[in-house]
Symmetry: C2
Subunit: 238 residues, 2 copies
């Protein structure tokens, strides 16, 4: 079963979420059941870039070609990687080699291979995305992951405005035992000067931090910026 | 038994290490057995600011006065907080209230209360600090923490130059099973414009990222900047 792959790059640092800072390779798959208004990887689903159908073995070969012996961790991202059953074989190959794995998905599709991923980030999308969360589906997704004995998982919500924050609270209260991350959204995907974007994003991050610090319903949370955007701006493939 | 306290502030975000982004209160204790050349909290040991001797109950009162009902996590930092036996009582009071705790210490002194801390960051100091690590002492420290059944711990080394990175590798190889963080050092403690410091620190962070990405002996690591320094610069008490 082939995997539609849009890019393989690294090693670089994971810029966000529960394994922020981790040295990792990225495998970015094409295709998404969502089309978030502010998606920073819209090229995975808007037809502007074409995915290549690769076998799990070929993906591993490409990882080795690109990362050599300088990696021990692979992040599978998208698009929504949970659309692709074929990733199961890749996860098996990686695990057999002792390589750690991480995945980010919005939790709208389930795959059994998710149970074998070391770190799963579930990132339901807030109202500003224009997407609507199916909470019954998400309940099941969270439950399946939470009941496994190995591996860890967290929720991450991207925040652009107060409405998103209200949504985030709802998610946090629904799954109070799940580690919870808030991430400031990048609302300027066209800025091509990293220094300008950096000042803007840190200003937005400061707003999010201030707001969360004042809120008694958001005490057990982690608030993070996208580190890669602070360094490299909107550049693809880093 | 009193605790010498220099500042209590928050809630704010934890800017570094294994719980980066966490909403937390800070209790900063005075006194250190080290005097690192680049210490960003030298006021805890250089005599420029005076600590106040407080009982554990008083510390908790001050936390409540400052953080109200807007906190569920307390970070005890220094100086070297592990110099103070009295912190044990504070940890007990916090744990009884269901409040999570984190500590950072260089690992030069042991206290049994460390076993009750949720997240312990052990931060041995690299050569640029001018301090010398007693590795036999550190072995024992790491072993005691690793053998506990609850709570988590990690190593964090601050990096200013290639010599520091060589030291970090030595530490990482000595304790391969301990989660390992590299943090870019702040070498400009006098810059008072956050925007200028931010550009400089991110430039240094990019250097560290590039260097680590090329190094096959540093595959299982996390590389992070100090997020608080990116936002607030060298300001104290945030």
């Amino acid at each position: 079963m082939k995997i539609p792959v849009l890019e393989i790059f690294g090693p670089t640092v994971q810029g966000e979420g529960m394994v922020a800072g981790q040295k990792t390779m990225f495998v970015r798959t094409g295709g998404c059941d969502y089309s978030c208004s502010w998606c920073d990887s819209a090229f995975t689903w808007d037809g502007s870039q074409k995915a290549e159908a690769l076998s799990a073995e070929s993906v591993l070969e490409r990882l080795d070609d690109t990362g050599g012996d300088r990696y021990n961790h692979v992040t599978i991202s998208g698009g929504n990687p949970a659309l692709h059953k074929g990733i199961g074989e890749l996860v098996e190959l990686l695990t057999d080699r002792g390589i750690q794995t991480a995945v980010e998905t919005q939790g709208s599709y389930w795959q059994d291979w998710l149970l074998s991923i070391d770190d799963v980030t579930i990132s339901p999308k807030p109202p500003s995305s224009t997407m609507v969360t199916n909470f019954e589906q998400l309940d099941l997704f969270v439950e399946r992951l939470s009941s496994r004995s190995e591996g860890s998982q967290s929720l991450k919500v991207v925040i652009f405005n107060d409405g998103d924050l209200a949504y985030a609270k709802q998610v946090h209260q629904r799954y109070p035992h799940m580690p919870f991350y808030l991430q400031v959204g990048n609302d300027d995907l066209h800025e091509n000067q990293p220094e300008k974007l950096r000042d803007h994003l840190l200003h937005r991050y400061e707003w999010l931090v201030d707001t969360v610090m004042e809120d008694r319903e958001l005490n057990n949370v982690r608030v993070l910026p996208q580190i890669h955007a602070l360094i490299w701006g909107n550049k693809q493939g880093v």
